[in-house]
Symmetry: C2
Subunit: 347 residues, 2 copies
């Protein structure tokens, strides 16, 4: 067993920068430059180095690169769940755009639990995420501080607030809901109800509820007597909540749902209860997931540009990471999709 010399043929293990350098007869610095800023290297050298890279099947070691350059080219996203089609769609677009910029996506999900979200944010940060995509503003101030001391830029999506100093991309859940609710009131509804997602740790749900209340106030309704049921994100819960809300006196002639999934549940419940939609009761959703236009009757809802949001979020985050800037929050437009589930109240 000889030893004591610069390892000439590094066994059969994974080739390193040094191997490439040796083969191409240059220093490791030159190889590194070939890979990271090719135009700093003379063409002849570059060709030679690249040949060596190819010949050896060299690929840079991630850890070493991260350690030396202090960045991972990785962006983290903490979302409630991918099973929710709206996030799946947005994240898909987010990831595609990230890829175009040479970034990779690290994902974690919070299952709508605040504590878990905090943990995931810490995990992704520890995993070296250069930047973070977060959903909504609501979270412990401690988390924002943590991100600041670690100087990990974060972008909030699916929510919009020009005032907040965390940049965001999204839409005003409140305004969107106000717009929808106004249309509903114009149809003449005076007794309404709302099935909302849990509002405790979910500012989006909260804003949507606020929107309905605002518009209701405008229309002269007694907002305090409006039945509101908070429940979990699932069709079954929508069914159950709808039953409860229709037991109210006076019985609502229109039921706002905080999202399409709950609305689909409501729709099904109505069917089971033998109620005609929109003859006996109107139902509205929010998100415009695929199911919305497929439902029978098709669901009136608020259309949200999820893909666009994901795509642009990626661009913003990459800018934040590379240029170290804090972009302006961007507000996306939602629009009302009037479909069959909305009609005038029964006479």
């Amino acid at each position: 067993m000889s030893r004591e010399s610069l390892p000439p043929t590094p066994a059969s293990s994974v080739p390193t920068l040094a191997d490439v350098a040796r083969m191409a007869n240059v220093s490791t610095a030159t190889v590194s430059r070939c890979l990271n800023s090719p135009d700093q290297v003379a063409e002849r050298t570059r060709t030679r180095v690249m040949a060596a890279v190819k010949g050896l099947g060299y690929a840079p070691n991630f850890g070493a690169r991260a350690l030396a350059s202090k960045q991972t080219n990785t962006i983290g996203a903490v979302i409630p769940t991918m099973e929710n089609a709206i996030f799946a769609r947005g994240i898909q677009a987010f990831q595609e755009e990230l890829g175009r910029h040479g970034y990779t996506l690290l994902v974690a999900s919070s299952s709508y639990q605040e504590a878990l979200e905090e943990e995931q944010i810490r995990t992704l940060t520890a995993r070296g995420a250069d930047g973070l995509l977060l959903i909504g503003f609501h979270r412990n101030a401690r988390v924002y501080e943590f991100l600041k001391t670690r100087s990990v830029p974060a972008l909030v999506a699916w929510a919009y607030d020009a005032e907040n100093n965390t940049p965001s991309i999204g839409f005003s859940n409140k305004h969107a809901m106000v717009d929808l609710a106004r249309i509903v009131f114009e149809k003449g509804h005076r007794h309404i109800g709302m099935i909302s997602a849990d509002t405790t740790a979910n500012d989006r749900a909260r804003d949507r509820l606020t929107g309905v209340k605002l518009a209701a106030g405008e229309a002269g309704l007694d907002v305090d007597r409006m039945p509101v049921i908070e429940t979990t994100y699932s069709i079954e819960c929508g069914v159950e909540a709808f039953r409860q809300i229709m037991a109210w006196t006076p019985r609502p002639t229109a039921v706002f749902c905080g999202n399409d999934v709950l609305a689909i549940g409501a729709l099904r419940a109505a069917k089971e209860m033998g109620l005609s939609v929109p003859g006996d009761v109107s139902i509205t959703g929010f998100d415009d997931i695929e199911l919305a236009s497929l439902a029978e009757p098709a669901l009136t809802t608020v259309h949200v540009p999820h893909r666009e949001m994901g795509r642009r979020a990626a661009g913003m985050l990459v800018d934040m990471v590379t240029k170290k800037i804090t972009p302006k929050s961007v507000e996306l437009q939602t629009d009302i999709r009037l479909r069959r589930t909305l009609g005038p109240p029964p006479t």
Copy 2:
């Protein structure tokens, strides 16, 4: 500006292991052990170290850890797209289980393009993924070789093949389809058609088609004359394909669809064409996505345990990475969900 001494207070930057060591009055090795194998450290020391960790708000540097330990605790997954609910669901479960084992998920999507998939596999490998989750077996042999030389363990999901030496977790697409098709033929259908996803780079689609053909052969049909349309994964494509296939002579009385999304499209097309389902034509899907039971009439399809697959895939992959074993492939059971879209052929 003084200098020349071991940096005592490292400015306000991120604390390192050395800072913790200094504060707790131990060596960096001890701190490292406290974090990675706590029971090798005396309780008193550990308490002191942990206090320092907390006091300093220390979190290990990912790159350094990866470089030194040669592992990232990160698992990569390359899926066609998250917009497909079946992958979203499976990946969600995958990620949750990964988290339970202390692993983080890195995702990339191939958009069903073979070349892109290869690129993504290389990217995730370069990003330091300790192991990889891949969908289906079909890919260039070069990719498998690459993975082998880099010794990155890979697990194939959504497909099952006990013979293949890449371990897998999934189900037999062929058998599942045979089972479904047999039921269809028992109803008396003699003229069938199939709307399939693109089979070129998709072994799952191919196997499903094979399944239908096998059962058709069993039933004594002339397999070669069976109309098959290959199209893209989308409701619209399903609509279009269904129109074409119903123009065939003799007109099919049952149309198999390679997945539920195509089936939903077919269903809609049937409605638009004024055909009764299953009165005039029966339609079947595959996957049992949420939409399947919500459709009107509800779709007969093959139920696949996506979540279970994701969850167990995570466990297997973690074993592969940590214990360096190659697990046995596991076959999951699918089952037929007989719903309203299947009936006997018109008389």
